[in-house]
Each structure stands twice: as C-alpha cells, then as structure tokens.
C-alpha cells in the first residue's frame, strides 16, 4: 500500500505524544468490541463468550428496547429436546440450524418468531401450518414440544444477532520457534523485556487472544481499559515554563489549549497552552509498541503469541 506523502504543517501540535482517556473509551463502546457475556446453544466446553452486538432483551421488536446489550439466557435442555423434534420435521425446508434454505425461510428473521412470546403465536401457527405456501400443519405436536421449539427458535434469533462464540485458545496458530527469533531479533522486544523477568509467567496470566491484543497495545485505548495503565507504562510530560522552570510528572490531560501534569508530590498542575508556549514534551514508555503497529505483519504477531503462551 502506498502511503500518503503529506506535507505536515501544523504549528499547534509540537508534541510527539499525547493522551485522551475518556471520550475514546466511551465512544468505542459503540464499536462494540467488548461485549457482555451471553451463553448460547453453540457454547464450547471451555466456556467461551459471545460478543454482544445485538439489541437487548426482547430484541429490536421489544417496545422501548433500544440499546445494545445483554441478551436472554436460554434453557439449553429445552433447546436440546427441540432439536430432536425440529430436525426431522422442519430441517428439510428450514435447515437443521433454522437459518433457511431454498425451500423455506430463515426462521431467525421470521417476524412470527420475533413477535412470539414463549410459543403464544408460534404454537398455533405451527399446528395450523401454512398450506397455501407449502408448510404442512403439525397438529400432533404437544404443548411442551411447541414450547421447546419456540425456545430453540428464539435462541436462533439471538444467535443471529450476536457475535459468534469465541474460543480464545483457538487463536494460537503461529510457530513458537519463529516467535523466539522475532522476540530477540526484528521485534526488538528483548531491548525492553525479558521472559524470565517482567514477562515471566505471561502465558499463564492471559488467554492467548488477550495476550496477542495486549502485545500489540498494552494500553488498550478505546476499549474502556485506558485506566488499566500500570505506573510503568504511564506517560510523562515535561513542561518548560517561560521562567525556565521545568515541571515534570505524569501526564494527566492534554489538548491544544491546556496540559495537566501530576507531580510526584501528588500536586496537580495545569497550564494553558498557546501554540508552542509553554513547551511540552511527552514521553511514552510504550512508544516502541506504537512504532511496531505500522510494521507488524500478521505472521510475526502469530509467532510471537505462540512463543509467549509457552512462557508459563
């Protein structure tokens, strides 16, 4: 990819770095990366999580439900019973997953299913069928069976809205030996880290997905976790006042018009900014991670993760 060759001409941003903590995190929720836990029928044994993107309980059909949040918890035993009935009776047209085939509609998008509550509409509908459109009646299904099928189909709707089940362990695809080479070589990880020092036991501390996410950016900005910065990773600022005094400390806030520094004494000092005055230099201990972001190729990342998960 060709990069933009831009003439950078910006008098007001003399800073190599800066931070904003709140607004990005709050708004990133709309991006929906960190979702609530929802158990689903397709749950794997490791207890993975489904990342919620869909609307809340009742779905978009529920009056007044407008947010994106936690979905309902489904009765897995009922769903298991439903599948035994559903697959032979309904699967040929609707698919065993109920998501539709050429012969029958996708039931996760069916307005009859979405509008149903515990089988109140579905039960009579299934018993009567829709002969004019090729769906036979099923008058012999019991109330319990219909109720189970309703539970299964509502779970299908929720599964269709939500992100899929995640098994973090499945994400390890790299070559640990190549990871060692990258760690000690091109990645220059070794210039700051040691697998027997600060990274000792890192493979046991995080699941592999989280480990990979955090090795790209240990300060996962924009995911609501910006507060989880260890003192070691905190950005510092040096503000040179007109008097020549240099105020240093942890960077608390910065904008075009102000900078706030938390001194080691605990004193919080704010200064208004006008262009380059006063001079502000921000230092970020994680700068090497940001430099790597642009240059990673995915294989390096996978190899590095495969290596680090072995550090236990």
């Amino acid at each position: 990819m060709v990069t933009v060759r831009a003439r950078v001409f910006c008098r007001h941003v003399a800073l190599p770095l800066a931070i904003v903590a709140i607004q990005g995190a709050a708004l990133a929720w709309l991006g929906g990366s960190t979702g609530p836990v929802v158990t689903t029928a397709a749950q794997a044994p490791q207890g993975p999580v489904s990342q919620g993107r869909g609307p809340g309980p009742g779905g978009p059909g529920g009056p007044g439900i407008t947010g994106r949040g936690r979905g309902p918890i489904f009765d897995q035993a009922a769903i298991a019973r439903a599948r035994i009935v559903f697959e032979p009776l309904c699967g040929f047209c609707h698919g065993n997953d109920a998501r539709g085939r050429a012969g029958g509609p996708d039931l996760a998008r069916s307005l009859i299913v979405i509008g149903d509550t515990k089988g109140n509409e579905l039960g009579p509908f299934i018993r009567a069928g829709r002969p004019e459109r090729g769906m036979p009646p099923f008058p012999n299904l019991t109330q319990e069976q219909l109720s189970d099928i309703a539970e299964f189909l509502h779970e299908r709707v929720q599964a269709a809205r939500n992100r899929a089940v995640i098994d973090p362990k499945a994400s390890v695809v790299g070559d640990p030996a190549a990871g060692v080479v990258y760690f000690n070589g091109a990645g220059k990880c070794i210039s700051c880290h040691s697998v027997t020092g600060d990274l000792a036991g890192i493979g046991a501390k995080y699941d592999p997905m989280t480990l990979q996410d955090r090795l790209v950016n240990p300060r996962p900005g924009g995911r609501g976790a910006a507060a989880n910065v260890t003192p070691r990773a905190a950005r510092t600022a040096a503000v040179t006042l007109p008097s020549g005094e240099i105020v240093t400390g942890r960077l608390d806030f910065i904008s075009e018009f102000a900078v706030t520094v938390l001194e080691s004494s605990g004193r919080r000092r704010s200064f208004t900014r006008n262009g380059d005055s006063p001079r502000v230099v921000v230092t970020d201990p994680l700068q090497a991670h940001y430099d790597l972001m642009r240059s990673y190729n995915d294989n390096d990342l996978h190899d590095l993760t495969a290596y680090l998960v072995t550090i236990r």
Binding site: V13, D97, V157, A164, V216, D298, L301
Partner: protein, 555 residues
Amino acid sequence: MKATLSFVSLLALSLLLTLTVHGRQLKPADILNPSPDSWPTYHGDYTGRHYSKLTHINQANVKGLSLAWIARLNGSTQGAIIGGKGPEPAAGAVANVNIKATPLLVDGMLYLSTPNNAFAVDARTGRQVWHYYWKSLGGSAIGNRGLGMWGNYLFMDTPDQHLVSLDAATGKERWNQQKADHRGDNYATTAPTVINNHVLTPAGGDYLDVPGWLESRNPETGVVQWKWNATPRAGEPGIETWPDAFAAERGGAAPWQPVTYDPELNLIYVGTGNPQPVLIGDTRPGSNLWTCSIVALNLDTGKMAWYFQASPHDTHDWDATQTPVLFEATIDGRARKLLAQASRNGMFFVLDRVTGKNVKSVPFIESANAFLGFDDDGQPIPNPKKEPQIGGALVSPNNGGAANWAPPSYSPDTGLFYTNSVEGYVIHYRVLPEGQRASGYGGGAEHDVGGLGAALRAIDPLTGKQKWIHRYPGAQGLAPRPESLGGLLSTAGRLLFAGGPSGHLMAMDVSDGRILWHSGLVQQMSNTPITYMLDGTQYVVVGAGDLLYAFSLQR
C-alpha cells in the same frame, strides 16, 4: 409527463395559497440556492460541501466570536406533542436528546431532531418553541441526524422505521408512513433529503442481514414514488457478484446517510452500507454489488446511472456512506463535474460525477493496511489475508473507520477537501465454529487495540496530497470514533470550524490549519456546525450533547 407537470403546478399553487397562513414557506428552489438567512437542508445545500459564502465572521475578526445564547433540549416528554404507536412514555422518562442532527434554519426557526424527538428552537434567542415526541415501537435509537423540509412540512425518520411529517409552525403531526417492519431489525437514523417533490429516505438494519434500500416519497401525501434496492434481485444486473439471490436479498447495503444532488444532471449521489453478514464473507463470495458503493440515481425514477465500489467484498464494516461531496475543477484544461469521498476504509476517491469514472484514488490515512492497491477502475483490491483470521489479522482502520458519518467540508476558495480522520487498529479474529453459517456480526470478533491517533486533514482532491494535517494532541495513541470529532464547516471568511477530542469549538485558517479562535464546550461537539445571517448578525451554531450553542461577534 403532463400529469407530473400539472401535479407540480398544483403543488406550487397550494404552496402559494398556504403562504399567507404560515409565514414564509421553504420552496424546493430555495434549497437549490439557499439564502444567507437559511440552512434549509442537512448539508446546507445539495453539494454536501458544508460551506457557507458568509464573510461577516472572518479571519480578521474571529477573535471577537462570543456566546450569543445556549439552549438545552428538553428531554422530558411533559408538554410534548405526542405521536407514534408504541407504549406511553413512563412517568419521568427522559428522551435521548444527544444532538447528532444538523439543524435546519428556515424563517428564523431552527428545526432539529434526536431519536424520536423533534424540536423547534428560535434561532435568535434559543427558546424552545415546540417539542414533538414519537412513541416508538422499538428499533435502535442510536442516533438521528436531522430533519428534511418542504413548504411548511418537516420530515423525520424514526427508530421503528416510520417517516413522520410534521407541521413546522405547530409541531403537529400531519401523517406517518411505515417504511419497514422494525421487528425485522430495520431502523432509521438519517436526515431525509427533500429535493423538488421527493422526500428521500432509506431503510436498512444492522444485525439480521436485512436488505437496504432508498425510497422516494411524495412530500404532500407520503406515498412511495420509487424504491431502489441497494442489492440486486434475481435476474437483475449485479446479481453475478453474489452467489445467488438468497444472499443478495439478505446482503445489507443500507444507504443510511443523506444524499447529494446535481440539478443539471438530475442525479442524486448515494453512499451505500456494508454487506451482510458483516465480518464473515463465506456465504457471499464476489464483490457484492452495490454494497460499500457510491451510486448515482435519477432523482425522478430511482434508476441507476452508474456505481463505483469503494470496498469490494468488504469484511470490515466499512460502509461507503460518507458524504459524496460535489465540486468543480479544471483538469487538463477541461472543466469537470467531480465528486469526492473520504471513505470509511481510509481511501480518498475522486470521481467524474457525470460518468462515475475514477479520477483519483489514494489512502488518506497512513495506517491503512487491508488493500493490495487499486484496480484499473480505481477500486481498492481487498487483501484476503486481512479478512478475519483464526489467528487474528491486524487491520487498520478499525470498525469506526478512518471517517464515518460526521460530514467533511469542501472550500471552493482553497479547493481543499477537509476531513477528520482516525488511525485505529483492530485485530479481526475468525471465531466461526466449523459447519456453522455466519449471520449479522457473527463469526468474527473485533478486538480494538487502540491506534495512532486522530487528525484533521486538508486534502487537495486533484493531487490527493495533503496540504496540512492537524493531529489532535488529545487522541494520540488512541482511536476515538471519527464521529466523536464532529463534522466540519468552512466559510468564505476563510475559516474552518471544527471540534475534536478536547471538547472545544475551534476556528482554523482554511489555508494552513492555524487555530485562530476557540471556545470550550461542556462536552465534545456531537454534530456539525452551521452558520447563517439574521438581522445583520452571523451566527455559528453547534450541538454538544443536549446543548445547542450559538456564537456571534461581540458588538
């Protein structure tokens, strides 16, 4: 044709007749050439430039810009005019009044909306004149971007997919029309665009793989005039870019932002949404027309003249709904009608808006890494390795995109295209269990890993080079949503009004990005600045949360 003509003249007659009843009417022609005392449509005019010819506030005097009034939108439904078919609002309920809308300004009155709410606010004083509340049946209330206006009628899209028409003088409902069943995961956030006797309004959803479309309705009656499906149906051109009609009919592409319009060509320019399922493309091999595209449609028929696909076979939620901005320029001695878009995928496109032929394609963020280059038509070539992978694919931009719905600006004075931009990174994991079929956002997991900050960029559309970049100090090392930076406004006073992560409104020099003036807001600007003249005073109006601020020069 005759019937249409007589219909139009009848409408004109009825407009004239009602003129005396309701004060000044907004005639369709008024939007073609907006007067300085108006902001009659979402983009200010039909070009999508967010540019004003006003010069009363300019580089020489902008230092004197000061607060004229401040207004808080009333989130209580007490005293509101109530419409809609949903349940009664609970006692003490407070509506979502976060202002994403670009207000309209007609005859001294500002009209704006939030999800389920419409407001009239006196533009001279900030006093709320009426409040309309729609009892929604459901649907996502993530945002509402504004109203459309025709004569004395306002038009609002609702979360439960109704188009509601209000009397602008009183806020009383004239009619409502259901566009789609919200239970099927259709919802609406857009500002309807009114052009001649057409109200243009989209439909679409997010989670359940519903089809998207744009429809045109009669402003008087609400009756559908035409409907354009954003993905092809069986037997239609474009169906060859889908495996079958089943996939295409569930393929998304909701055109969820206001259109732009060239009256000489009688073409509207529409940006379309991403394909569905969103992240996993297994069930939709092909380029998936007309998802993630810029399309030109005939205003009166909805018939497509041309398309350009900004993200073929997208798997990253990179819709191409960002404003298609219309401008003119001379290239190789020839006057050209052009269109530019800073697209969510990080690519900047310039097209000939007569033919749709590509003039320029170039990345506008440095971090973009998911394309292999551009094809002969200037369309990006997706790198299949950057689709969600089991081991993770590190991709930039992230879901929020390099740009999103907040409008850019184009200044004919500088010939520059201004856009906010974000360099976010995300790891796309493929988490679809074997043998399962993805739907909605299923099968993929997007793990945001921050980014390399946000910047306001001034792009020369003819070269693709960036004249200047303002990197927001408050966003370095982060990836705020692009829309959180706010929309942009440029003026003939050679000023660019912008927000950014620090919670200020800033006035910058259009030619180099120098900050000439700023004022703190209670929170980040959440909409797009507008400007207008009333009684010899130029106002700049912005929204931040539930507050509307008006600035003017101190006398």
